[in-house]
Amino acid sequence: MGDAGEPVFATSISGVRRMSRKTSALRLSLPQMLLLGFLVLGCAIVCANEPDQWLRPASAPAPADNLPNAARVKLGQMLFFDPRLSRKASMSCATCHNPALGWSDGLSTAVGFDMQILGRNTPTIVNTAFNTIQMWDGRKKDLEDQATGPIAAGGEMNMPLPEMVARLQSIPGYAKYFDDAYPGQGVSDVTVARAIASYERTVLSTESPFDRWRKGDAHAVSDDAKAGFELFQGKAKCAVCHMGFNFTDNGFHNIGLKTPEGHDYDVGRYAQKPIKSMRGAFKTPTLRDIGLTAPYMRNGCYKTLKEVVAHYNRGGDDKDNLDINIVPLGLSDAEEDQLVAFLQTLDGAPMQVTVPVLPH
């Protein structure tokens, strides 16, 4: 491990030095010193074998009743890009989750059925396979549960699921793909959801400069980014919520965003769990590929990462029911820039996507 590992190494060395001084002061006997040696060695082996919590796993998890295969992913990709899943055959999943825009839409808040402007920012679907709960307010438990939600939602694709199934059944070319993916199960809202979920599980972040640094390439990121990562875990408290390789705790927090003038207060998670702390709380999003998914926050109120960092530095704006983790941070302007430099190292090379030819 390169620079990412250096702090660990330095800690170990200083620990041994401290121990040496203590050993000398205590005047340990030879058996005691041998025992101490074994303990230190054992600890070193355990530490060395501990997986790096910041590195991505090799594959994404999938439920036992919908394990991915090529046929399911292929069908799911077609459905994901097929606008005929919407009432007016005018928008597909990819309309909002556009791979050319970080699997989001580049808008502050989404545009739904008949061009109506919706209340929340379109979350990227990158790494949603790793989420233990879905949507900004956690109203869907997994990808299969989530996949048909926006299709049926009146403000989004506005397509009642029975009509969606009937429409897909009327397209002869789809039958073969459903048979290949889910033999004998036909076209149903269940097979549609499972296929789309299977495709979404392939939308994963790729290796970023941050990953290369963690794996030992000391030159993969700048010194500012390295300092930013230290702030991220320490003074700036970001890792309290943005923890682990996917930079999320899959938890819900009220981070004190202002409600824009003329907009209703968004209660967020409270609609699902009417608990005081959940009023105005939303799910912690991933930070992977964050440079590709502006504008930011659940209402898209910030255009740049610098604005986002500044928000947290001042401890949020709307203090009503603020999460107790959100406090003024006292970061300097230079430290804010270091945090931004670190965040920019989380962008992987965009996944190459071939837009499918759809069945007729």
């Binding site: 233990t132 956690g138 705790d249 938890g251 608990i275 709380a281 999460d323």
Partner: protein
């Protein structure tokens, strides 16, 4: 004489404690650590208390929307505790509102 007085005082104090705290009442400590409750299923009795302690570096919450007992102990930081008195028999599904993966059950008997 002095020894007898002290013994009598101790006996009186013990009696007072016995009267104040019913024999069946107890406290059940539960830690919140690494985003899990340390006890997945807790068996307790009506009148017992459960003390939840946050041993993580970040805030946790404890609540239940169960029919048996509905409560919200709020959010609190590392090292802090919140106590719940069990008032009804039945099963209570306990969660952390902040981290929905954190769940446990309390099976309360009379």
């Amino acid at each position: 004489m002095m020894f007898r007085s002290v013994s009598a005082l101790v006996a009186l104090a013990a009696l007072a404690v016995a009267v104040a705290v019913p024999a069946h009442a107890g406290d059940h400590p539960v830690e919140q650590v690494k985003k899990t409750f340390s006890v997945p299923v807790l068996k307790a009795k009506v009148g017992d208390t459960v003390t939840f302690k946050n041993d993580d570096e970040f805030a946790h919450n404890v609540f239940s929307l169960s029919e048996t007992q509905n409560f919200d102990l709020g959010s609190y930081k590392k090292g802090e505790t919140r106590q719940l008195k069990l008032t009804n028999a039945g099963t209570i599904e306990v969660e952390c509102a902040i981290h929905p993966e954190m769940k446990m059950k309390i099976e309360v008997s009379k």
